[in-house]
Amino acid sequence: MKSTGRKKPYLKVAFLGMVAAVLYALLLLKQDIVLEYISRGGMFAILPIITAFLFSFVHGSFTGGFWTVVGIEAKKERR
């Protein structure tokens, strides 16, 4: 038993994982549309940037939670 007594964020991680999976599925299944838009350049440049932010937010929260769930966490007290 962990001594911290804190509940692990299973639900949140599972939810974020699913959202991340959907995002990745869309990106890879709709490659034609994705490539069509990113090859346009110009002000369409905002699209890959927004995509990057969105993915980093969802997938970043998921991977952070993922390590917590598998029990790898930062050291409790800092020096």
Partner: protein, 355 residues
């Protein structure tokens, strides 16, 4: 025109996707720990599956800024990030990137691909030899004096920089708990940008610059560098994307792996002595330096400065160089994972004792 643009993008199969994911993980792990360093396997790694060089550079950059953002947020929670320093460095680095990219272009026009490759490799070798050498000397000194557990001491240079007062340019940085003139931070940021535009890893100047010139601790320097990388990468990605060069599929697949890695790398920093950051950094820098040095004769021969090397020799040098580079990152990853593992084991034992 449109077809030309579309031909920039490769077909992705499952194997390629898995390969990019693993590449991203290792790159992320190292970046999370030392603040930078994944780029040099990612760009050649993408090129090895047929991605054109420029698209590989652009797509790498577009995975770098969101990765740096996630890493920076994580390490901010551990109190390791000096946002102000990172942003000021990032803006001056942006200027460095523009000048560096211009220089890169001029060399390419004047001396062709081989000339530009030679310039990049020589820059790699010189910077890594000097900076890696300084860090290695520092590491060896601590080892010899048995002070690996101590708090880091300020270098003479940092003491001098912190003692100079130039009215109107002084800014307080929490990582230093002191005021220094931004006339010192701007050149370091600028050099970081030039290096980022040249070898894609600006952190090799940024992090040691913050440590030895300003006096920031290794932990805070590597964490604040993530903010700099974010600022620099965001601007650069937008510029490349405007030319339709960012293959967002590649960026996001690498990001998928690297976000697992960067979180783990960041967690790793909380278990190690600040000294370990320097050990990993010096190791990677010195090994990568040898890897790039091997390529110098290849480019010299292409430029006809030295005699022809022959196909077999060129191939051997190229493959050995890439293998050494991959080895550098794997060694880095191994040291980080080992430090993390032993830290976790100790922590669990302590937790059990308390119960």
């Amino acid at each position: 025109m449109h077809d030309v643009a579309m031909s920039n993008f490769v077909n992705l199969d499952t194997l390629n996707i898995a390969y990019l994911f693993i590449l991203g993980f290792v790159g992320g792990l190292v970046s999370g720990f030392i603040g930078s360093g994944g780029a040099f396997v990612l760009t050649p790694g993408m090129m090895s599956i047929g991605v054109p060089a420029l698209v590989a550079v652009a797509s790498n950059m577009c995975h770098k800024f969101p990765k740096a953002l996630v890493g920076a947020i994580k390490r901010y929670r551990y109190g390791q990030v000096d946002v102000k320093l990172g942003v000021i460095m990032g803006i001056s680095a942006e200027a460095g990137v523009l000048i560096g990219a211009g220089l890169q272009n001029k060399i390419k026009v004047a001396f062709g691909d081989a000339g530009s490759n030679l310039y990049v490799s020589v820059a790699f070798v010189l910077v890594l030899a000097v900076v890696g050498g300084i860090i290695l000397k520092d590491v060896l000194k601590s080892l010899k004096a048995g002070t690996t557990n101590d708090e880091e001491t300020l270098t003479k240079l940092a003491k001098w920089v912190q003692s100079i007062n130039i009215p109107g340019t002084m800014v307080y940085f929490k990582s230093l708990n002191a005021r220094i003139s931004i006339l010192f931070t701007i050149p370091v940021g600028f050099a970081t940008g030039i290096l980022a535009a040249t070898i894609a890893v600006g952190g090799f100047i940024g992090v040691p610059g913050m440590m030895y010139v300003f006096g920031v601790s290794g932990l805070m320097a590597s964490a604040s560098e993530l903010v700099t990388a974010f600022v620099m990468g965001l601007g650069g990605s937008f510029k490349y994307a405007m030319h339709g060069l960012v293959d967002i599929r590649l960026s996001m697949i690498i990001l998928a792996g690297s976000l697992f890695g960067i979180q783990l790398g960041a967690i790793g920093t909380t278990y190690v002595k600040p000294f370990m950051i320097k050990v990993v950094m010096a190791t990677i820098m010195i090994v990568v330096m040898f890897s790039r040095a091997l390529m110098v004769p290849v480019y010299l021969s292409q430029l006809k400065v030295i005699g022809e090397l022959g196909d077999t020799m060129t191939k051997v040098l190229k493959n050995t160089s890439f293998a050494i580079m991959a080895f550098a990152l794997l060694i880095g990853a191994f040291i980080i994972l080992k430090a993390l593992w032993s830290g976790l084991v100790t922590e669990r034992k302590l937790a059990l004792k308390k119960v």
